[in-house]
Point group: C2
DNA sequence: CAATGATTCTTTATGGCGTAAAGTGTGAGG
DNA sequence: CCTCACACTTTACGCCATAAAGAATCATTG
């Protein structure tokens, strides 16, 4: 089940995010771990298990108990804040505008999508009150720079930036959830659909008549990449088409008044 | 923290979703509860606490222990499946096309947004493998019917439907998280921002120089509705603007080749 | 060089969770 | 009236985050 993550103590979180761990080095035994090592280990665990990873699992991966982590990090919430910003660290801080804003936004969307698919738990960290780490600033700045170059007014740009973020997040989430589901249950998409639809057809035989438009929507399928699972193919195609439509909307705003 | 919800046993879930509880009525004491009552109670609890609601809390609201629920419902996952479909029950099953597809989509988007904001936990139920309840079918059918009326090919329509869903979900989630955060901590948006940005400015004094475009993006603000919290105002404005851009993109596809 | 005390890490314990298993009481069917 | 299916409670188990207290380590001070 789920609860929003992140949102630890502001001072501790922001200090760790921007300054890193303090190094006083006085008496006492030497630290064998570090905040960085803990964040790395936690990301590795979360990539496999999602935000429901346990502090025990992270400690184990480092050869320590769960409680050892609390020497470095105030709690799980603050650790998630740090993981979040680290996960965004691989994203570019700026994009070339040589080929125009549309190409740049497309590259931004693909990079961001890939990052989310690699670290799906990022999508479960609350967006309403951002973590405010340096890399979150950097990627937001990267998109802002592209959008500002269109010359559109700020109000329009904020709406567009929001729509782009929502779109990329949603598309990535669909793929990530499909993978998580088949990974967790060991059940391929086809088997899953088969099991459900068999029961469904048995209980509700005239589904097609009741929901005709749903079936019209299923026409005109692209030949699928047989390497990829069913749902993933679908998600990829929808990502391409949806992004194009969205950018057409931006283009309309740019070229027309 | 979080784990995807739903995804219970297919047969039990789908039977409960489509057929309702069986009524054999033979020996034993009469049931005082019902699946419906449990789902209602669970939704009420989840509206307040999110998907991390406990079975104990639902039982308590009904004057029972947590274990009493297991007589009616196989487990929490299946209960969430039922809650999900019930939450969508209030949404229209079709929209009038008298004023054109654009007006209809706009109404669909607002209705759906409102439902998500009222039941934010719905957004945390996995989309990759849908719950497949009757009301989920109905709302998807409603949007499909509108989109099919544009005459666009199926491949394009699926991408557009995905983009619309992602957009509405993302926009609603932002508002829901903002409300949840201020509700949980009792901290208004302004206080929260103040606490964070004070620490931030102290640690990183030249933020504005480092991320100039972010600040350009903040220009040209609409006069805010003083009734609403800061973040919510923002989210509403972005919803309006973003939806308009998205629909402009659809319009471009409809009017051009 | 020993004593001090801060620091790292482990152990133990608390209160939460979902739910398995076993027990209790009710009431219709034989 | 007896039986036994059923609704419901009690108890228990193994997870979780993390508070509190103890053990080990080591730079510093007397």
């Amino acid at each position: 089940m789920v609860v929003y993550a992140g949102q630890g103590d502001p001072r501790r979180s922001i200090e760790l995010l921007w300054r890193g761990a303090a190094e006083t080095r006085r008496p006492g035994s030497k630290p064998a771990l570090s905040v960085d090592a803990i964040v790395d280990a936690a990301i590795a665990v979360a990539d496999e298990q999602g935000l429901a990873f346990s502090m025990r699992a992270v400690g184990e991966r480092l050869g320590r108990t769960a409680m050892a982590l609390y020497t470095y990090v105030p709690g799980k919430n603050e650790l998630v804040d740090l993981m979040y910003d680290r996960a965004l660290a691989g994203l570019p801080g700026s994009y070339s505008l040589d080929e125009g804003w549309r190409a740049a936004v497309t590259r931004w969307a693909h990079d961001t999508w890939e990052c989310y698919v690699r670290h799906p738990w990022v999508l479960q960290v609350s967006q309403a009150r951002p973590v405010l780490g340096p890399h979150e600033f950097a990627t937001t700045e990267a998109l802002a720079a592209i959008l500002v170059s269109t010359g559109l007014p700020g109000r329009r740009l904020r709406g567009i930036a929001g729509a782009l973020h929502y779109f990329v997040r949603g598309a990535a989430q669909t793929v990530a959830e499909a993978r998580a589901a088949s990974g967790a249950t060991g059940e391929a998409d086809e088997e899953w659909w088969y099991a459900r639809s068999a029961v469904l057809v048995e209980l509700e035989p005239d589904l097609e008549k009741k929901y005709p438009m749903l079936h019209v929507l299923e026409h005109d399928r692209e030949p699928a990449d047989p390497e990829l699972p069913y749902l993933e193919n679908d998600a990829m195609e929808n990502f391409r088409v949806g992004l194009r439509v969205l950018l057409d909307g931006v283009e309309a705003a740019v070229t027309q008044p």
